[in-house]
Symmetry: C2
Subunit: 499 residues, 2 copies
């Protein structure tokens, strides 16, 4: 058995290398590539992914997995080896069940759809994008059908990002949380509004940059294993266990934008840098799920980065960099300003209280589209109705509405719910962390994140993708993913801020 396992690992290590290589090529394309390099870079990434795919779905891997399935029954089911076989088998099924020509058609369609979406968004012209989205929905349904039987046709799509999670799980949680978040926003809107005008002054980009670098280091990011660059949309990418990079986007007049995105991506990077070396170059050297990934980024960004404790330590440093812009602004005013709640059209700019509602809306629409209850042509109307219901505002055009996100043009259907589920997980972990570490808040007040990061590392990061998300959260907290901790968090926080 050891021999077969080593054979499998040898193939998987090559696949891991190719994935990292494709990530480097993609990162370079977004960060440094000269304009004309686009087309050839696309070919190169496609070649690498094709070779990687073929290496994986080979008869050799199929045979090894079949043998290992039967030979590994005596292993501890929680051992790295047993989990490696299990997860690899799962991925193998995923990659082999979909016919190659369907994958090719999807890939070609999304390539064209992306350009169509960019134009449609620019021109506020949903009609021109509609046929592409219709094709994507149709092909995505076909993809999902490959995984019959299922409880809901949306399940296999969700499963790509949240292994083992069901549409019904998400529906249950969302229907619990939605009315409470809607209620919260209504009562906030009746309170006295917060002044955040001083956050719209000019803040020197190079000082913003240096502050981001310094805070990320203080949070535990080792710059010998990471680097920061600028891109239009911030992201984190992984080239190995010792090279995980983040990007940010600096706006001179919105200093919070670059700062919180740097902290957000730092959260992703700390997760990716924390996988156990024993899992290196295997599919287990990955996050447990996209929601778990998001639980890390949003915990650092929001639960930590937008807390009073955090700024008790960092605000004096921030103010010393920008004494003019922040003269007369005390910690409390600053704290309130960075936590201002305001229903808005754009998801990526949403505050903590409204963010999940943006996600729920997309989830409802996606499920309706995939189940066939909603036609693409009626999507803009449906979008606007949900916006009115959930947040009381209607976008003035589709560019600020249904066309705002890149995901659907890229065929990423099933992805959106992970953002909200990530928020929920972050609050569940947060309660447990406070149970385990009585002085957690004091430590944050002192800018000391060592124990906090160590807790995340031993409970979450090191395990990589060994456990499915529901299993992992249960191991840590004793419960499956639930809504109430996040609701409690929001209510406590905003009761304090808005009284």
């Amino acid at each position: 058995m050891i021999e077969k396992l080593n054979e499998l690992k040898k193939i998987l290590s090559k696949i891991a290398d190719l994935r990292y290589a494709a990530n480097v090529l993609d990162w370079d394309q977004q960060v440094y590539m000269p304009d004309d390099g686009d087309e050839e870079r696309g070919e190169q990434i496609a070649t690498i992914l094709e070779i990687s795919h073929n290496l994986f779905v080979s008869d050799e891997v199929g045979k090894l997995l079949m043998d290992l399935q039967s030979e590994s029954i005596d292993l501890d089911p929680n051992s790295n080896e047993a989990r490696l076989v299990k997860v690899t088998q799962r991925n193998f099924n995923k990659e082999t069940k979909i016919p190659v020509n369907l994958l090719v058609e999807l890939s070609q369609t999304t390539t064209m759809a992306h350009n169509a979406w960019v134009k449609a968004k620019t021109n506020n012209d949903f009609n021109s994008f509609q046929p592409y989205l219709e094709k994507i929905i149709e092909l995505t349904k076909q993809k999902a059908e490959c995984f019959k039987p299922f409880e809901n046709i949306y399940d296999p799509l969700l499963d790509d990002y949240e292994p083992g999670m069901l549409t019904s799980d998400v529906k249950t949680i969302f229907s619990e949380i939605r009315p409470q978040q809607v209620e919260l926003i209504k009562s906030i809107s009746k309170s006295k509004q917060i002044d955040d005008s001083f956050l719209k002054r000019k803040y020197d980009p190079s000082k913003q940059w240096q502050f981001g670098i310094d805070v990320a280091r203080a949070l535990g990011l080792d710059w010998k294993r990471s680097r920061l660059d600028t891109t239009e949309h911030p992201f984190t990418t992984t080239f190995g266990q010792k090279d995980v990079r983040i990007t940010t986007n600096i706006s001179e007049t919105i200093p919070t934008s670059a700062f919180f995105s740097t902290v957000h991506e730092t959260g992703h990077a700390l997760y990716e840098l924390g996988f156990s070396p024993a899992l290196r170059r295997t599919p287990l050297s990955n996050a447990a799920s996209m929601a778990f990934h998001e639980s890390q980024s949003r915990m650092w960004e929001n639960l930590i980065g937008r807390s009073r404790q955090f700024w008790l330590y960092f605000y004096p440093k921030f103010k010393s960099l920008f004494p003019e812009q922040l003269s007369n602004i005390d910690l409390e005013s600053f704290y309130k300003a960075i936590n201002k709640v305001e229903p808005s059209f754009i998801r990526t700019e949403a505050d903590e209280a409204t963010y999940n509602l943006h996600i729920m809306l997309r989830f409802e629409l996606e499920v309706d589209l995939i189940e066939g209850r909603l036609k693409v042509e009626h999507l803009p109307d449906a979008w606007n109705e949900y916006m009115k219901d959930y947040m009381g505002i209607i976008p003035p055009n589709d560019t600020l509405g249904v066309l705002q996100d890149v995901h659907w043009s890229a065929g990423l259907i099933g992805y959106f719910p992970t953002y909200a589920v990530g928020n929920l997980i972050s609050a569940q972990l947060w309660e447990k962390m406070h149970e385990d570490m009585a002085d957690l808040d004091d430590k944050i007040c002192n800018g000391d994140f060592v124990e906090l990061l160590s807790w995340l590392h031993s409970n979450i990061h090191q395990h990589g993708a060994k456990f499915e998300p529901q299993e992992l959260i249960q191991n840590i907290t004793g419960n499956r993913i639930e809504a109430q901790p996040y609701i409690r968090y929001l209510q406590t926080k905003y009761k304090d801020i808005y009284q």
Copy 2:
């Protein structure tokens, strides 16, 4: 036949993509990678090169080539198709004749040897490097033996960089040029020496950087298809026909260093950017040889970049950037200073008059080592004797002598002569260019490089690796590679400068 050719091209295009991908990974490693990424990056590049090698030396490619050999006899032998088959067959023979275990042993040895060389150079300790170099020489001999029969055991090594060129060709040319270069240096050393002290003042790095960018653009480098970064050792790397990047190294007190290396690399980049689109993603989308590559870089750097005509146009611009450093310095003094001749220990810092002698010395030693006439333990003494003979100086230690270059530790034996041969080719081309373009010097005086670049493109760049170097130079000039044009060039230039 068309079908088989297309099949072959499909495989070759994947191999090209993988080569470009490996180049991106290597570039990133040298330019931006965080410190700790080293080990994993090595694995990733090794995996890509291994996959690429296996794709190429497959039975499938062997069979396709065999069929195409016989079926392509009716093709025009100068057609892209016939040349593609010929060059691919050549590369296939090269890659399949060497046993895999020898390749692996060489690769492992050079990996260790590199680190040993770095230490040995730092500590001026040749003895610690000696066993590694002995192993490399031994394995390199074994590699060469795979290509029996040959006229000289050094031939197959040289052939890796100069297809079709023989050791005897190089010996003939070098023995013709050496006494004349030695004589030239002697007579220069008796002349009045040039003052270049003003080139050792402080020159603002950001202005140096911008000047390099502007000049490269003026020479014809399209920054939509290239970019400049800084590395310890400047280099050019290729990610496709529309993405070729260069690097430079800026020293505040040696402004000529960054400038001439930027122009040098620009010459390499213009070559790589000029391959015909018809050759894209094939082995023909490459330089004809390393000497031809060097002929381009050194033509732009020296024949153009160190000419009076060039600075007639650019010196006023340069002086306006650095008015203090260059006050009182007229064009003529500047021109002489950047062409000062001085025997020195380090090849990469050598002037035009002494450079080839550094190369000839290495060539003599390499041939002696490979033919077995010289033992590695006697190499430092042999080095110093040649230095005394050729340039009249002896390095005070091995760090400034036999240990200065990285090549031998990397197993690059057969590479050095291409630097000098490149100089010779550049002068041959230069004479022909003056025949073809009567107003070439006037154009350079006016900063107009359009026709010059167009000549290089149509005569050299576009052909890529279709022709072997001797064939290509003969097509252009009617002669094989010869020494006299370069001698004429040096004598005319330095007679004028040193009288």
